[in-house]
Symmetry: C2
Subunit: 718 residues, 2 copies
């Protein structure tokens, strides 16, 4: 592992007009940092000399002290690093962290303090802004060292600007205190307001009052010129802890984005004590769309793995007693229809509704199916007391995480799973009562240890308790992190739903395998996700960490109870196979019913074989909103896999196989849309073919409207 | 145990004009219940025919449904009970519960619904008001059975009135969202507003905006007549759970009190799901002051003991590393003066301040002192990481309840205590971060079990996290109860400070031994408590459960670090002995420094001997704000003890000993103020004398200004 660090300490400013410069290792990105006439820290960013971010302000406002004006650059610290680290799981076995760093120490000019500042301190305020420039983008964060006699700050507003050189194409979802489960708007910034009117009120919506977008945000710029390629720019954050979630307020006149961090209901972004640092604000830049998909910038800005022995962390596929609850045939999470039944009720005296999915026989069916098909995990939702009524916020106790319904015999099901070589996966839906989950957590995790559950899917559907908190506020950000940390103490893997979207903490706490935090496959069952949805997610949501997208639909034609047709999912069957490549996750569901998989055992072979942990990944072709083609090498064999998806348009995917080992012949098994397949009219039609290929081969594969293809490449013995 | 229950079910109203009547078993109290022309439920209360409560409204307002008008009494249910129960600890070995009960079922007249009511239900709203009349007072509560299709209610306002027949003398503290640590105002209701101006802003104050008082409230009425004795009336609540704390808004023109329940910051009193009942609202009535002191009304309205095996619950006295932190000599809870040191810091690298009280040598001193004097417990405050800065609300992690400072060697101190037959008492100050305490509780209690700690003193100083909550709001009421319940699972006894004042739950969860929840002895050290303070507390604060008043001051002359005199505590030494009788608690501190006790070993003999659990209690004489004389019999021997205290006036206490067993001679050891003792000028001067007495004896004991006397009566062998 090559590791070269240079540290150069410099007092005072360098460069003309007091600006500091920082370049990426390859010199193509260049950041400039200075303070303007008001002593406001400023920065700008260029790529090959073209503006990515115009001069933009930095700073934040606290309840006692402001950090926005009257500062000078007192000193700087520079360093460089070029190291390689190994993730426990991911798209790559090794990740290179090559960056140049500039930390500017900003010191207040006390002579410029205005009258209404709290002049409690006889020493000037100080803070640091640390910049790191990689070849694939910029990261910067605010740091507050111990100073003076004040140990706290309540942050009221962060003032980070991203002033853009033009009105970019935005791939975004609207700013919201609580939910990120939106379809993607693809629109130029200056027509965003109109485009957002297309959103009705999502059940969980709590939209920010101002025009705003969430992060990760993708933008496409520099499209008007013929001499250069367009620029793809992703804004997100890394290492989010102790702070609210980053949204961005949009000024369509100035083509400007400004940090709009989610607050608690008391109006504060963060309560912090010194020393303190904010999350990194990240700006990924690439002149090709695959460059964004491949970027590991966010992970590179996170802390190394904090868990010593990671042998208990097992990437896996799983099936689950779950999908059936969405299929409109009346199967329930709840044991009964009695609204008075709740945790603590004597459920043996409650009349079962006869439609409870998590019953022993059904669970054993899924265990059998998993065992027969080499799938290690079985999730069971609806196993525990409380599902009859779990309305958030309006009641104080929702679930008991140690009390099973009468038809879910904990011990015998654990034993049955073990006898079949399968593990049951725990489910902790909290009804957004995070405070009660904090209280129950030790009992809940001890229960898991005692009964052989190694992984848990958590959920926070609804409005949060503590009632002062939003899903995006600091307290809840901290809550979900302490869940992951405590789970690690118990050797438990976590897949969190309705939690703040990930920001690369899967590097530091690799037991935190996946999150939902975007609109997933459950919406396919409920309404359908238009095919372009999954051609955007990898450019946005996935840049902070894996999504538990729960693919694997083999029957995309949805109907209600009674058989009345409602809609098709936005997919063909072959596309669902491809999603195992384009939506990679170390915790990956095989979502459909066993009976649907049994209808297409040949196609199911792909799902059985596809790995969930990768040695290498090659983004072959991509355009956000249109298509993605990616190849990945299994971490534990020499097999390669390819996935290609398209939007509602049919497309020819060009797939050069130059990633294969030269001189080796591979058998390619190609799972493709049938020629007449179409997500709207003929979604299930697929064709499987095989051919021998080498690194010189070039495949061309037609993708149906809303379709895709998946390829497995196995080296043949010589 | 005599147990006679009659239940009579009656449909329809009885009595003239549709009113229902209920009398106490002795017939002296009479309640009337009806609905007025608007269908508002009403009640009134008389004692010997004199009005105690004029016609007053009942009801409450919810967010969707109101329960205040358009109701009729649909049916009633009557029952009686005369039973005896045995508390695990208390003032009495047996308590009689003799009451008549009337439950009225109120049903909405749907034809009278107004337009803006949510007419979602096709069935009439229903609720029950249940009344119990005892010889010593009234209790009533609201009950909401399952009904219609609506399972929740958010209570916005409770409308319970107590309309009084005159402007009573009030013994009260001002209404407050957060704190009850106030001195008592004794003033007529119509001059309350003026009287309350005497209060500055207490550090923790969050005063209710309207003129209001807290409960327990004492009032004295019917003082203008010569033919009858005055009436003493205490308003409080019993069995407080799942609801905010009862305060009372005061209308000085109408001589009226109306429930003003503490809300969360979102503006709600309670979020409840059906079926649900509110706490009992209690109105103790007595025509003699001792009758209030002796009343067990609040306990009688609570649920029986919910803990099966209570053998691990041990009433006890305890000393503590605590008082010295208040004495102004610079001793600290904190290990260092470093504001950056906090839980997780490597404290071995932090410079100790040399004044940390909870160090091993000092703790051993207290263990030795306790062992030498037969005191089973030693509390240690400041043992754990976090004390350098525990400012509430403005930070997110305050303490770690499993990490000791470097100079507090957990294992060796546990071993030392065990070798001396003493138990260390744990301290969990939370800095009002109740949410974090919920998260740490299992770890904290496991730590206690592992290291031999059987009891914990908890604290919630400051502004609460969750930031949506007040100390008086439902969420926090529920928090402190779940602490007690979880502690019981771990066989841990609890003494909670800054928690909502008790409401008799010590009957149901007797491991919940005591609470502070009023202004205690720590204020003696800080400012002084005027002597009348403890002549009021037993009439008010103690009516819901014991107070950890922490008496035992042997050196009442306070000075700052460096020896400068500041003030005297509001007490003589002899009075401090008496407080062990007048402020009874199963968890009772011996607060002063060992060296101060060693100055007066003869007086200390009383504290060594005085029990903390009683077979019987006789309130011999009392007047709120003036004096209290009480005798109690040790539960575990035939000894009797007497305590008498006075306010700032010297007083002769008349003490007939007719509670002694006739025909037995007792040796009385009398610990009295010296003739020239005075709390302001000569507080330590005391005299000890002995005499032989019988049940026919009558003692007369002079109490100094701010003084008291304590008597131990031991039967002599025949």
């Amino acid at each position: 592992m090559k590791k070269v660090i240079f540290a150069i300490f410099a007092a005072g400013a360098l460069g003309a007009s007091g600006a500091e410069y920082l370049t990426s290792p390859d010199g193509r990105l260049r950041a400039e940092v200075w303070t303007n006439d008001s002593g406001t820290p400023m920065y700008s960013l260029t790529f090959d000399g073209d503006t990515v971010v115009r001069p933009s302000r930095l700073g934040l406002l606290g309840d006692r002290y402001d950090f926005d004006r009257w500062f000078d650059i007192a000193s700087t610290e520079r360093s460089s690093a070029d190291t390689v680290w190994r993730p426990v799981w991911g798209e790559f076995a090794e990740v290179r962290d090559n960056h140049n760093e500039l930390a500017v120490l900003l010191r207040e000019d006390m002579s410029r303090r205005t009258g209404n500042e709290v002049v409690a301190e006889k020493v000037p305020k100080e803070f640091v802004i640390r910049f790191r420039l990689f070849n694939d983008g910029l990261g910067f964060r605010y740091e507050f060292p111990n100073q003076g006699g004040w140990p706290y700050l309540r942050v009221k507003k962060e003032l980070t600007e991203f002033n853009l050189p033009e009105s970019p194409m935005m791939y975004c979802i609207p700013g919201d205190n609580n939910t990120d489960e939106y379809l993607w708007t693809i629109a130029p910034m200056d027509s965003l307001e109109t485009a957002f009117r297309a959103y009705g009120n999502h059940t969980e919506s709590n939209r920010l009052p101002e025009l705003s977008v969430q992060t990760p945000l993708l933008m496409k710029m520099r499209t008007g010129r013929k001499d250069v390629k367009p620029l793809y720019v992703n804004i997100h954050e890394a290492d989010l802890r102790d702070y609210g979630v980053l949204n961005l307020a949009v000024d369509t006149v100035a083509n400007s984005l400004t940090s709009r961090v989610i607050e608690d209901k008391m109006g504060y972004v963060a309560y912090f004590e010194l020393p303190f640092h904010t999350p990194w604000r990240t700006v990924m830049v690439a002149d090709n769309a695959p460059g964004i998909l491949a970027s590991q910038l966010v992970y590179n800005l996170n802390e190394p793995c904090a868990i010593g022995d990671t042998s208990w962390i097992k990437p896996q596929k799983y099936v689950g007693v779950w999908w059936e609850m969405f299929l409109g045939d009346g199967r329930t999470w709840a044991y009964s229809d009695s609204i008075t039944a709740r945790p603590g009720t004597d459920y043996t005296r409650v009349k079962p509704n006869g439609r409870h999915a998590a019953n022993a026989a059904n669970v054993r069916r899924y265990i059998d199916f998993a065992a027969e098909n080499g799938i290690p995990g079985v999730l069971v939702e609806g196993w525990n007391e409380g599902w009859e009524d779990w309305t958030s916020y309006r009641k104080n106790r929702h679930f008991d995480f140690t009390k099973a319904y009468p038809d879910f015999p904990v011990d015998s099901l654990t034993a049955y799973a073990a006898s079949r070589g399968v593990k049951l996966i725990m489910h902790h839906e909290t009804g957004a009562n995070a405070a009660d989950y904090d209280f129950q957590m030790d009992s809940a995790f001890r229960f898991m240890n005692r009964h052989g559950y190694e992984a848990v899917k958590t959920g926070y559907v609804g409005e949060l308790i503590p009632r002062s908190e939003n899903h995006g506020s600091q307290w809840f950000v901290d809550h979900v992190l302490r869940v992951a940390k405590k789970a690690a103490d118990y050797h438990i893997m976590v897949d969190s739903h309705e939690a703040p979207r990930p920001t690369g903490l899967g590097r530091t706490y690799p037991n935190w395998m996946a999150q939902e935090s975007a609109r997933g496959t459950e919406f396919e069952a409920m309404q359908g996700n238009p095919p372009y949805h999954t051609t955007v997610l990898p450019f946005t949501r996935l840049k902070g960490g894996p999504m538990d997208y729960t693919p694997g639909i083999f029957e995309p034609r949805m109907s209600t109870y009674g058989g009345q047709y409602t809609h098709n999912c936005g997919t063909t069957l072959a596309r669902q196979l491809a999603l195992y490549l384009t939506m990679p996750s170390p915790f990956q569901m095989v979502c459909d019913l066993p009976e649907n998989y049994r209808k297409h055992p040949d196609a199911f072979e792909f799902i059985k074989a596809v790995p969930v942990d990768w040695k290498d990944s090659r983004y072959i072709a991509a355009e956000p909103g249109d298509y993605i083609t990616v190849a990945r090498q299994d971490k534990h064999s020499d097999d390669w896999y390819v996935g290609a998806i398209t939007d509602e348009n049919a497309r020819e995917a060009e797939i050069p196989l130059d990633f294969l080992t030269p001189g080796v012949t591979y058998e390619a098994t190609i799972y493709a849309d049938a020629p007449d397949a179409d997500w709207q009219t003929n979604p299930v039609a697929y064709r499987i073919s095989t051919k021998k290929v080498t690194s010189r081969s070039r495949l061309r594969q037609r993708l149906a409207p809303g379709g895709g293809c998946a390829i497995r490449l196995v080296p043949l013995p010589r």
